[in-house]
């Protein structure tokens, strides 16, 4: 029980968060974090545990998102049905895709997922009669308040993390890791590698698809460039995994938090602090600095990734003992 006390405490904090923080802006940011927790966990299961690098998370994200959007746009059914149905449809997509593409290994599989991503983006762009193409689909939001979205996102994020936790502790988890470490050896031990890789992919795709369907419901607007984005979804999913820690249960949660925080702090210039500073001092130097810093938000994340790969190759969670030692060392030096 003791090992879960931290997680339970965190969950309790998350549960009361929207009641304690009424500011819709922070609630919005937390919803983004929770969304990324689900996507990151999905990526982590197939890539971190089963070792099959997924470069096309956006394919599943977008299919989930479009399922929800099309339900309301074409059939007039509430987009919320997109949550269960989006998971089912991404599952139905992942199964045949895995069956075909798990014949490929390593980078070749990664490239196949990249292709899947691009194929779906093009379909969504060109098939205008179904998807409205780049015009996008608008879904009116159900709630004005952020709180219902927050709790739904929290539910999905917690379910994703729990799924990963349960799966990696089960027999499946050991199969996944053995496939990651040495596929041929796993095969020779009698593990049906194709089957278990498919299991991992299907579970992952469901989590990512759910996040996509929630995105549609929450954002109220999708187009192919947004939800099938290679850069903003597929690669961001990998970065969340890498920063948090590949092959750790809580890694994606930490990674998601760091990513959203870093992006937003830079975009808003330290939540407007730098802007105030520059107008208060009136110095053109600070103003220019502010401008460059807020324009560097993409760069900042790239630098963070480089730093993590160089010094914390197992991510913030995976290398937590090292990080803790370093931090303690600094503190000790500071007191001396």
């Amino acid at each position: 029980m003791k090992q879960y006390s931290g997680a339970i405490l965190l969950l309790a904090v998350m549960l009361v968060f929207p009641l304690a923080v009424q500011d819709a802006y922070y609630q919005h940011l937390m919803i983004l974090v929770l969304l990324w927790v689900a996507i990151g966990s999905g990526w982590n299961l197939i890539s971190g545990y089963a070792g099959q690098v997924l470069f096309g998370a956006a394919a599943f994200f977008g299919v989930g998102a479009y399922t929800a959007a099309l339900l309301s746009h074409k059939l007039g059914i509430s987009a919320w049905w997109g949550l269960p149905l989006g998971a089912v449809i991404t599952f139905a997509l992942a199964l045949p895709f895995g069956w075909v593409c798990f014949r490929l290994r390593g980078p070749y599989f990664a490239l196949a997922t990249l292709a899947l991503n691009e194929i779906f983006r093009h379909i969504a762009t060109i098939w205008e009669s179904l998807t409205e193409g780049m015009v996008g689909i608008l879904v009116m939001q159900t709630f004005v308040s952020k709180v219902p979205y927050y709790y739904i996102a929290l539910g999905i994020a917690v379910a994703s993390v729990l799924t990963v936790e349960i799966v990696v502790r089960s027999r499946w988890g050991y199969y996944f890791v053995s496939i990651r470490e040495d596929q041929d050896a796993a095969e020779s031990l009698g593990i049906d590698t194709l089957r278990y890789k498919s299991v991992a992919l299907c579970l992952s795709s469901c989590m990512i698809g759910l996040a996509g369907a929630l995105y549609t419901n929450y954002m109220g607007f999708i187009d192919p460039r947004v939800v099938f984005s290679l850069h903003d979804v597929s690669i961001a999913a990998i970065l969340v995994g890498i920063i948090g820690g590949v092959g750790t249960v809580s890694g994606p949660a930490v990674g998601a938090f760091i990513m959203v925080a870093v992006m937003e702090i830079f975009r808003s210039g330290g939540f407007g602090f730098l802007g105030k500073l520059s107008s208060a001092t009136g110095s053109p130097f600070v103003a220019t600095l502010t401008k460059y810093i807020s324009e560097a938000h993409v760069l900042s994340f790239g630098l963070l990734v480089i730093f993590v790969i160089l010094y914390l190759p197992n991510g913030v969670v995976g290398d937590w003992p090292i990080l803790k030692k370093k931090l303690l060392f600094w503190r000790r030096q500071a007191t001396v």
Partner: protein, 396 residues
């Protein structure tokens, strides 16, 4: 006595500081603006930001809004709808702005509109031009610029009266702006009895257009219509020249074709290209030319219709703030409904027509690049130069 003096001092200090805060509550009126300051559309975002700031400086210098100054809170949307949404959430809930403007790309503007409507904060759309934005029946959304389906209005009358083409080929970038513009234009051409020989989209940011252009050449259309941003536009024209593709005329659907960078990058290949346009500094509106000259003097770079839209938006918002009975989102919305004024971008009045609501209705223009200058050539009554048609072949 000393003690008494100290006490008086303290009371005075407290009193002054309290008065100070009371004054602060009466401080500047905040106006929230969302623009793409980084990312692919940053170039346009910057022109708009400069124009907004220029306008607000003028307004504040002229006495502000009933004695209060306007403070702009400009947020970067990076060209992405979800980021735009974060930005507008911040503006509404943290900064509590009573009115919003800006909105460059259609998809970002769309996402912002949904939030603005839901939170009941009026939003004056500056540039986002997808038709749907004002077709949702949203009563907190106003649009200053023309919707994309109306961009080629002047072009259509030119085609009908002068060129009378029979066939057309359409190339467009695969974005909301390109795809919806191409669709509407194809429909209009067919209604006018023209045959659309080819209608193809390309990836935004593509480099090699020759396969597409060879197809166009084989189809031999009377004219070629292109909806592109600036780099694609320049490359399309340069490669057309290389391939010696000579339809009767080349027409750009606004956006990239109107920018000074287009002429710079395309070089000679830009010569005689027509483009639909919403504005140029030569349009017959008071303040248009002055705005252009002031901008060039201040920022040392030319400006174009996006900047004029931003500049005009600021004046429209300031006008509404002046007339609003109370400075609440609701009060400002009511003032915006009755807007009826002249700006550097043209007359502004938010009316309902067709499926649209609270949409400003403005004429559009046809322009042509002549010796590196974008001249207005149609409608005739505002033309600065006669049009060059038929376009001479490249080889001449």
């Amino acid at each position: 006595m000393k003690r008494f003096a100290f006490l008086v001092g303290v009371v005075l200090a407290v009193g002054v500081s309290l008065a100070g805060t009371a004054l602060a509550a009466e401080g500047p009126i905040k106006v929230g603006i969302v623009l793409p300051l980084t990312g692919e559309q940053a170039q346009f975002g910057e022109i708009e930001r400069n124009s907004f700031q220029m306008a607000v400086e003028e307004i504040n210098k002229a006495g502000g809004v009933n004695g209060r100054t306007i403070e702009l809170l400009i947020e970067d949307d990076t060209g992405k709808p979800d980021v735009g949404r974060s930005a507008v959430e911040k503006l509404i809930s943290r900064d509590q702005v009573p009115v919003l403007t800006g909105g460059y790309s259609s998809s970002v503007a769309y996402a912002i509109c949904a939030v603005a409507q839901q939170r009941q904060v009026p939003f004056v759309v500056t540039t986002g031009s997808a038709d749907k934005i004002t077709e949702q029946g949203w009563d907190y959304v106003f649009r200053l610029c023309q919707p994309v389906s109306e961009y080629p209005k002047a072009l259509n009358s030119f085609l009908g009266e002068v060129v009378k083409p029979k066939t057309v080929a359409i190339l467009y970038e695969n974005t909301l702006f390109g795809q919806s513009g191409a669709k509407d234009f194809a429909k209009e051409c067919e209604e006018a009895g023209m045959k659309v020989l080819l209608k193809e989209g390309y990836e935004h940011g593509a480099i090699d257009f020759k396969p597409l252009l060879i197809k166009v050449k084989a189809a031999k259309p009377d004219f070629l219509y292109m909806i592109s941003y600036v780099m694609d536009a320049a490359l399309l024209m340069r490669q057309s020249k290389e391939l010696d593709l000579s339809p009767k005329l080349f027409v750009g659907g606004g956006a990239g074709f109107t920018l000074p960078e287009f002429a710079k990058n395309a070089g000679e290949a830009a010569e005689n290209v027509f483009t639909a346009a919403l504005w140029s500094e030569l349009v017959p509106y008071p303040g248009a030319k002055a705005y252009y000259e002031k901008y060039v003097e201040k920022f040392k770079t030319p400006t174009e219709y996006h900047g004029a839209e931003a500049y005009a938006s600021m004046y429209v918002v300031a006008d509404a703030l002046k007339r609003a009975k109370e400075l609440t989102p609701k009060g400002i919305r009511e003032a915006l409904v009755t807007t009826d004024m002249m700006t550097a971008f043209g007359p502004v009045k938010f009316i309902a027509y067709g499926k649209k609501k609270q949409q400003n209705s403005l004429p559009t223009y046809l322009m042509q690049w002549q010796k590196g200058v974008l001249e207005t050539v149609w409608p005739k009554n505002v033309a600065t130069k006669p049009y060059v048609y038929p376009t001479p072949a490249w080889t001449k």
